[in-house]
């Protein structure tokens, strides 16, 4: 384990799952037969939001289970609950993907590659985040040190089962200068993914941790001059500090600009899927509708709870809509809505799906899991999450993940019909 930290994030629980997998879905086996279980207070280090306060509420009458019973000729059980779905045009064994980590140094080394290998093994889609190429280069010509982007694509492609998953390459405004998408699209190493329909590009409009701002990283002072032509640099720690803050532009969008950027993506990269990533902005519902109308295969929304990268304290504490409110403001209809924001276990994931999402993204959880166990941490975490989702889905009397709906939820704020 490295010195990776995630304040406010249930790092310890994620680490347990990365280490012990499905066993972590239950209390310790050693307490069986001697401990009485029942609801206690919420775990103290897990902050609660409106999604956490919402409860999943199984019904007594379960017509969908009856249909499944008739299909099977026996009583359905947990393992009959089917999690397979499509995520932004890709087949996935469960409604989970790995979201972009941002330009933080955390993901640029071995952790990023470990995530890629394990996401590939799992067959779940993986988004590769911003600013990797303009800052670190692509590395096609340097055989000894290919870039983090190319390495992650290659590791993923080597591990992913046929017909499952896909790689999504994100691009922000500064990435456009480096033509990341054009580079990837014309790269021989990426052709197997392209030919099997498992490459997507994600237009980054914003992120959860700092809506309205672009990416921020700390760079060594001696490297700052080289970046000054492309980025805004702020000397926030004083002249004596070696670190300088590098700020990206969030890009300027209107509904017309968003619509045409998506149309241009579809036109320029006809063999790729088109994903769009939105921040938890007040017009997130309208922006999602514009993106889908322009032909986006998926719209991802970062709740304000999300984020792996460097962000100002004021934004972490005070800016952006909570994920629950984003879900309330977006009407996905039949479109693919993807959400992220402190997702690491099955209950929150299942609630997000009941609130309209097609799949949930793992950000900090994926990094923390591979940090705990570089070989199988993410696989273990996702297997535990999958078991929980199967149990929850089955408890709701449903056996297809797409059948989840708002009727499966209750909260004191929105109690519903009595």
């Amino acid at each position: 384990m490295t010195d990776l930290h995630a304040p406010g994030f249930p790092r310890q629980q994620v680490a347990e799952r990365a280490r012990h997998g499905t066993a972590s879905a239950f209390p310790e086996a050693a307490g069986y037969g001697t401990t009485m279980f029942g609801q206690g207070p919420p775990e103290p280090d897990v902050p609660l939001d409106a999604i956490d306060r919402t409860r999943l509420v199984p019904p007594v009458f379960v017509p969908r289970r009856l249909e499944r019973l008739i299909d099977l000729g026996r009583e359905p059980v947990v393992s009959d609950a089917e999690l397979a779905t499509t995520i932004g045009g890709f087949s996935a064994p469960l409604p989970v993907y790995v979201s972009a980590f941002g330009s933080t140094r955390v993901a640029s080394g071995d952790l990023g590659q470990a995530v890629a290998r394990q996401a590939g093994r799992l067959g779940i889609p993986m988004v590769i985040g911003e600013n990797i190429v303009p800052v670190a280069g692509y590395g096609r010509m340097t055989e000894t040190a290919p870039s983090s982007l190319l390495q992650r694509i290659t590791e993923y492609a080597a591990a992913v089962p046929d017909g499952q998953g896909g790689v999504v390459v994100q691009q922000s405004t500064e990435d456009a200068d480096a033509e990341v998408w054009n580079l990837v699209y014309s790269d021989p190493a990426v052709q197997p993914l392209l030919e099997s329909g498992r490459l997507a590009f994600e237009l980054k409009v914003g992120q959860g941790a700092k809506p309205g701002l672009g990416g921020m990283t700390l760079v060594p002072r001696e490297k700052a001059t080289a970046l000054s032509a492309q980025y805004d640099l702020m000397d926030v720690f004083g002249a004596h500090s070696d670190a300088v803050l590098r700020c990206s532009s969030p890009g300027t969008f209107t509904d017309e600009i968003l619509r045409h950027q998506i149309r241009l993506m579809r036109n320029n990269y006809p063999r790729c899927r088109v994903w769009v990533k939105l921040p938890p902005a007040r017009d997130v519902g309208e922006a999602a509708a514009v993106a889908w109308a322009a032909g986006a295969d998926a719209v991802g929304v970062d709740g304000a709870e999300g984020g792996t990268g460097w962000a100002p304290r004021a934004f972490l504490g005070h800016v952006g809509l909570p994920l629950a409110e984003c879900l309330g403001r977006i009407d996905p209809q039949d479109h693919c809505l993807l959400v992220t924001g402190r997702i690491w276990e099955g209950a929150r994931a299942t609630k997000c799906l009941a609130l309209g999402a097609r799949a949930v993204g793992l950000g900090r959880a994926a990094l923390a899991a591979v940090d705990e166990d570089p070989q199988s941490g993410l696989v273990n975490l996702v297997e535990c999450l999958a078991l929980e989702m199967r149990m929850l889905l089955s408890s709701l009397g449903k056996y297809e993940i797409s059948e989840l709906g708002r009727e499966d939820l209750w909260s004191e704020e929105r109690p519903g019909p009595r």
Partner: protein, 331 residues
């Protein structure tokens, strides 16, 4: 000329350069350029020498990658198209043309379209204060003139190539047709081809309509989002561009692309954003636009593609002495 699934096998450089067919092809190409210069100079156009590198070039489309070079520590580009420089050159002359080299690292899938080369040339024409009608008129008369010129001056080479001269009659007979992009999309969809309405006509669709055509025709009015930021948007039909492609019959497909140009600073900045780019990249060009660029219309004609048609060749690479197909390392 059917779509191949496998890789195209190019001859060795020696076999290619010593082939009678290559020699005849390059000679026809030379005559074609001589005829084009004769026509354009006669129409009052000034020939200029194009730049080959710059801080920025046409952002391109359909996944073609630009080639970056290290220019004293600055990231410069090889030209993918001289369009921005053509507009700027109108500050010196009213009507100009280039014979310009272009380099585009096309996606690997285009290696089998018979119409794509990584390194190719364009006959670039720009008409200051010109409208789309002016550009269509020059385009039609230019292409007819060079076909006649080649018929007169390259008979022996056409004989070596066994070119069926009936194809030339299709070019010279009558005015070129006009079809809107929407009409072509509807036609392709009716033929069972899944052409998207909001997008560029795809490679396969282009070949289908070219094969079905008896005469050359212009496709006009592409939807915004399918072409570069410099193609002017219609003031009366929002979302429709004042542009065109010239399609030749016989499966040869697109010969040229052109448009009325956007020259208004504010519109250019917004259009650049719509392509996802940071306008700062286009600083020199936008500074000229802010100070005032002439309105214009023009086009770029693919020299190797046009030679392919003149010579009746299977593929555009045969019209280059040093062909470079996407992904294929060649001298």
């Amino acid at each position: 000329m059917s779509q191949e699934t496998g890789r195209v096998q190019l001859p060795t450089p020696r076999a290619h350069l010593t082939s009678d067919r290559t020699r005849a092809t390059l000679a026809v190409q030379s005559k074609f350029l001589a005829g084009a210069r004769e026509f354009l100079v006669g129409e009052g156009f000034q020939e200029l020498l194009p730049p080959t590198i710059g801080p920025v070039t046409d952002p391109g489309a359909r996944g073609a990658k630009q080639v970056d070079i290290d220019y004293y520590g600055h990231r410069y580009k090889l030209m993918t198209s001289g369009i921005l420089y053509k507009q700027a050159s109108l500050l010196s002359f009213d009507k100009i043309f280039h014979v310009a080299p272009n380099v585009r690292l096309e996606p690997l899938e285009t290696a089998v379209t018979h119409r794509h080369l990584v390194e190719f040339h364009q006959l670039d024409v720009e008409i200051g204060e010109g409208s789309r009608e002016d550009a269509l008129d020059i385009a039609e008369r230019l292409t007819k003139h060079v076909v006649e010129y080649v018929l007169v001056h390259a008979q022996p080479e056409l004989a070596v190539l066994g070119r069926d001269l009936e194809a030339f009659k299709q070019i010279l007979a009558g005015p070129y047709g006009r079809r809107s992009h929407a009409d072509v999309v509807a036609d392709l969809q009716a033929r069972g081809h899944a052409q998207e309405a909001g997008a560029e006509v795809d490679w396969e669709g282009e070949e289908i309509i070219s094969r079905a055509a008896a005469h050359p025709f212009f496709i006009t009015d592409y939807p915004k989002g399918s072409r570069g930021f410099y193609d002017k948007e219609s003031t009366t039909e929002p979302g429709v561009l004042r542009n065109f492609d010239l399609i030749f019959p016989g499966g040869f497909g697109e010969m040229m692309s052109g448009s009325e140009r956007e020259s208004d600073y504010r519109n250019l900045v917004m259009r650049i954003r719509e392509t996802g780019e940071n306008p700062a990249k286009y600083d020199w060009y936008l500074t000229l636009a802010r100070e005032g660029l002439p309105s214009s219309a023009g086009f770029g004609l693919g020299v190797e593609r046009f030679t392919r048609f003149l010579c009746g060749l299977d593929a555009a690479w045969q019209a280059s002495g040093y062909p470079k197909l996407p992904g294929d390392p060649r001298p």
